[in-house]
């Protein structure tokens, strides 16, 4: 977490006050919330009234997908279009709607680099579509989609467009208005802010049925007493992450390109996954054919190098990633894959340590 965000959260935690209360203490809390809303909106090219504070990315995704679906179902549109490599917060929400709420879904295919072809979306945009949801940048392989183009196509067909931009904010330029999207998910802990604080940027004219009913605190779309310290920490971290984004991207992509080149030199059979150019600056993703990803992780962890297989999961079991399978990999290759994430604390020494450890580790993990 950014030190400035820690400071902002701590400061706000020392103040009591419910931002919905009418007395002086409540007003002070309300002021913190509204100033946070304004600074978050400013940082992301949105209007303050378009910011719906939530408890994080999963809630924002669920609210957008279910809420927009429910609102549109009344007009007889029940089909959801989604990319095949969505995060589980979107994917499982859609599958639940299909199982319980009369939705149908069409998973839009991606190519070997994880990129969605806008023509494939256009083909599916018939008059039964409730919404389109395509993540801005993928959490595993880092591929960045053509969001503006996809949103324009959806609008031409009169369909609202949601994007999960959890990975994108702070890493890529993200401007809500310029992107043309109707709903955008972000979360605090991916950009140096607190855990459990996120937001859905939701266009003023986008109908969305609430998930949480109660006091209607957030535009009647989301109820619950606002977490003032969390909201403040999220806004502070977002402002800083966005202002530093050009520098962050330049530094991380330089480090990443060095990592990629040196991994390929050290392990010539390693296959680089994802798009060569359209990708998150801090993301590198490789398959090591013949190795078990779990074994690579254990051996690297023992040498102080922390990497991921697939995405973190509640049981701690690494299943073959649906993202890699959607990109055309077989299960065995998918299981041989590792993600190397670089962040604001990563240094060239970290890359040195990885490249030094990797050849012996790969040799040992080969079956």
């Amino acid at each position: 977490m950014l030190p400035e965000a820690v400071e902002a959260v701590s400061e706000a935690m020392r103040e009591v006050g419910n931002a919905s209360s009418l007395h002086a203490t409540g007003r002070r809390a309300r002021r913190v919330v509204e100033e946070s809303r304004e600074s978050l909106a400013f940082a992301l090219g949105a209007r303050p009234s378009e910011v719906v504070f939530t408890a994080g990315g999963t809630e924002s995704d669920n609210l957008a997908v279910k809420g927009i679906f429910w609102a549109r179902r009344a007009t007889g549109r029940t089909r959801i279009l989604a990319s095949a490599l969505e995060h589980h917060a979107v994917l499982d929400a859609i599958e639940w709607l299909v199982a319980h709420e009369g939705a149908s879904v069409t998973w839009l295919p991606v190519d070997r680099d994880g990129l969605l072809d806008p023509a494939a979306l256009e083909e599916e945009l018939t008059d039964d579509v409730a919404l389109v949801t395509v993540m801005w940048a993928n959490n595993e392989v880092g591929t960045v989609q053509r969001v503006r183009e996809l949103a324009d196509l959806s609008h031409a067909a009169g369909v609202p467009f949601h994007t999960d931009a959890v990975q994108a904010v702070g890493q890529l330029p993200v401007d809500f208005a310029a992107s043309g999207v109707d709903a955008l998910t972000l979360t605090g802990h991916k950009l140096g802010g607190p855990l459990g604080a996120g937001a859905l940027l939701l266009g003023r004219d986008v109908a969305c049925t609430p998930l949480l009913h109660g006091g209607g605190q957030e535009r009647d779309v989301r109820s619950g007493t606002l977490d003032t310290p969390g909201v403040r920490g999220l806004a502070v971290a977002t402002s800083i992450a966005v202002s530093r984004q050009p520098d962050t991207a330049a530094r991380l992509s330089g480090l990443r390109d060095d990592l990629v080149k040196r991994v390929q030199d050290a392990v010539p059979f390693a296959a680089y996954n994802g798009h060569p150019d359209r990708r998150l600056p801090g993301n590198a993703h490789f398959s090591f054919p013949g190795c078990e990803g779990d074994s690579l992780l254990l051996l690297l962890d023992a040498r102080g190098v922390e990497v991921s297989t697939g995405s973190a999961c509640s049981s701690g079991v690494a299943r073959p990633s649906h993202v890699l399978v959607a990109m055309g990999q077989d299960e065995t290759t998918a299981r041989s894959s590792l993600r190397f994430s670089l962040g604001h604390t990563s240094t060239s020494e970290d890359v040195d340590a990885l490249v030094e450890a990797l050849p012996a580790v790969v040799e040992r993990a080969r079956r």
Partner: protein, 352 residues
């Protein structure tokens, strides 16, 4: 030594890992995810396989202070244990899935991978003694698991550490409490772990489908009932036969044999269940001995021990039992003992 601790989430494997650390070993914990679709919470008396059990194992590793990972072995478990279990029943034999799991998964897939990754061996919470590669019964005779480990080869035993052999279950629970392990009072597991409700016949019925056939009286040759699948019957079984014709002598009848090809279940009096000779498939010796050999044999988990004479029969053993055994089915494992020491094991092929 550098050891990999297999941690089910139960108290035994947690204490075993802790004792290995206290003995100065460098220990890494792994939980084996054996179910393709693990339930969130444990149910019944299953001892593993739910996400709650994975979390219990993870918390124990935290308390012990060792690295911890989950390995997905669901595909190996399905192929080596569950599919084998179904195929064995379909072939009219009675398998022991825990024996198969130890043989094919825990001390094979896991041990192989541990050795490959640079570990010296595995440590588990089984209740059995293992000293210098020689396996023998636990100090807690009620919890003794030497029988289900009897299938291990000398090479597998050489790379295995069993820290619990000289302790009773109450000892293990109090050691867990003393170390602040939250699983100290977790209930023991009993049932077959992949049959959640304990309904083996129901599990087999859904796996194999209905395969109706006759129930035949061994003495008269008469058809005395019908069944939906011979796989639902085990040699020695008395209950649930659903016979429509009473026995001539009015005495209870038991399943004597199960013949999958003709789908015939043969029933008869208890005396016809008595077995005095057991013939096996190719054995695995953990302590090689020359034949013929006087020793004792255990024919099922928690079963009686019989004195016997072992002689060669083809590539397997022929066991002449000093006292007759009852309800011995093909597919079960025969484990030879010299006193408390395990000598070797083999799968039972036929009885007489």
């Amino acid at each position: 030594m550098k050891l990999l601790a297999a941690m089910s989430g139960g108290v035994d494997s947690a204490v075993a890992a802790a004792l290995a650390v206290e003995d100065g070993h460098s220990v890494t914990g792994v939980h084996l995810a054996l179910s393709q679709a693990p339930a969130a919470l444990r149910s019944g008396s299953r001892g593993c396989c739910s996400r709650e059990d994975a979390r219990d194992a993870s918390r124990a590793a935290d308390v012990i202070g060792i690295p911890f990972y989950v390995w997905d072995l669901a595909a190996e478990f399905q192929a080596s244990v569950i599919d084998d279990f179904v195929a064995e029943y379909a072939a009219g034999r009675t398998p022991n899935p825990c024996v198969r799991c130890n043989e094919k998964v825990k001390f094979s897939a896991v041990l192989d991978r541990a050795l490959q990754l640079g570990f010296d061996g595995v440590v588990t919470g089984h209740h059995a003694r293992l000293v210098d590669g020689v396996l023998s019964r636990s100090a807690d005779i009620d919890k003794d698991q030497s029988y289900v480990l009897g299938v291990l080869t000398p090479a597998q035993l050489a790379a295995t550490v069993l820290p619990l052999g000289s302790f009773t279950k109450p000892d293990v629970r109090s050691m867990a409490r003393a170390r602040g392990l939250g699983v100290a009072d977790k209930p023991d597991s009993h049932d077959i772990c992949f049959i959640a409700d304990g309904d083996t016949a129901g599990f087999l019925r859904s796996a194999l489908g209905p395969q109706p056939g006759p129930v035949v009286d061994a003495l008269t040759g008469a058809v005395v009932g019908t069944h939906d699948g011979a796989y639902g019957y085990t040699v020695g079984q008395r209950r649930g036969l659903g016979l429509t014709v009473p026995a001539a002598d009015g005495r209870p009848r038991y399943v004597l044999s199960v013949e999958p090809v003709s789908r015939t279940v043969t029933v008869g009096p208890a005396t016809a269940l008595d077995v005095s000779t057991v013939v096996t498939d190719v054995p695995v010796w953990s302590v090689p001995r020359s034949l013929p050999l006087q020793c004792s044999v255990q024919l099922r988990a928690h079963g009686m021990v019989h004195d016997c004479t072992v002689s060669a029969e083809g590539e397997g053993w022929s066991l002449a039992l000093a006292t007759s055994a009852r309800g011995v089915a093909a597919g079960q494992t025969a484990v030879l003992y010299d006193g408390d020491t395990v000598l070797g094991s083999a799968t039972i092929r036929s009885t007489a």
